[in-house]
Symmetry: C2
Subunit: 137 residues, 2 copies
C-alpha cells in the first residue's frame, strides 16, 4: 500500500524520522516544548481518515494507541492530544502530543502557538532512541 | 457500558444534543461558524482514547467515520478536522469539524478563535434534523 507514497516535504522539514510502523511512518516533531509524535500512513493520496479503507483505519487506530501508550510510559503527561487536522498539509497525518499543565500552550492546542524550540542534535537523538524502544522499533 | 455516565456540564452547556449512536452521544457545537459535531462515548471516567478497550476503540472509530461522512455529505467541506484534545474538559470527547478555506479560523484550528456564533433556535433545529438523517438516527 506504499506504492507512490512520498512524505510531504513540509512534514519532512518539520520533523525527525523515528521509524516505520506497519502502516505509518512515525515522526518526531522538531519542537522540544512538547513530546510530539506524528503518524503518517504510507498511503498515497490519503487526506482524510475516511479515505482509508476499514482495515487501514483499524491499523491506524492500533498505531495511534501504541503511540499514546509510548508517550504515556515515557513522559507521564497530564493529557494526550490526538488530532488529524490537515488544514495546511493535506497529506493525512495524525498528531499525538503529550501535554502538561503549564506547558508553552496550555490549555490551548499546540498549533500556531509561538515558535518551535528546535532540538539540539543530541537531544533529538536521545528522544528518538527512547521512542523507538517504547514503540518496539 | 453507560453505567454512571453523565455528560460533562461544560459540554452540555456548549452544545445541542443530536442523538445517541451505539457507543457515543452525538452533539452539535453551538457555534454556527462551522458545522461541528462532538462524539462523547458513554463510558464513565474515560479521558483518553486508550482508556477505552479495543472493542470500544473500534466502535468509536466507526462512529467517527460515520460522523465524517455525514458532514461530508451535508456540507462538502474542504477539510475535516478530527481531534480528541480534552485540555479543558477531561471527559473523552472527539471533535469532528467541517472546515472551509476562508472560514472564521482558517487555516488555524477552531479552538479558542474568537467568540462562538450561537445558532438561532430554528437554525439549530434544522441543522440537527439534517444531521440526524445523515447519521441515520
Amino acid at each position: 500500500m506504499s506504492d507512490g507514497f512520498a512524505l510531504d516535504p513540509r512534514l519532512a522539514a518539520d520533523t525527525h524520522t523515528v521509524g516505520e510502523l506497519p502502516l505509518s511512518r512515525a515522526l518526531l516533531m522538531d519542537d522540544a516544548r512538547y513530546p510530539w509524535l506524528v503518524l503518517v500512513p504510507r498511503i498515497a493520496g490519503a487526506c482524510e481518515l475516511v479515505d482509508l479503507d476499514a482495515a487501514a483505519q483499524s491499523q491506524l487506530l492500533a498505531e495511534i494507541s501504541v503511540a499514546c501508550r509510548a508517550l504515556q510510559s515515557l513522559y507521564a503527561p497530564h493529557k494526550l492530544n490526538v488530532a488529524a487536522l490537515g488544514n495546511v498539509v493535506e497529506q493525512l497525518h495524525v498528531h499525538i502530543v503529550a501535554r502538561n499543565t503549564g506547558d508553552a500552550a496550555w490549555p490551548a492546542p499546540v498549533w500556531g502557538r509561538g515558535e518551535p524550540h528546535h532540538y539540539a542534535r543530541e537531544e533529538s537523538d536521545e528522544r528518538i532512541a527512547a521512542l523507538r524502544r517504547a514503540l518496539e522499533l
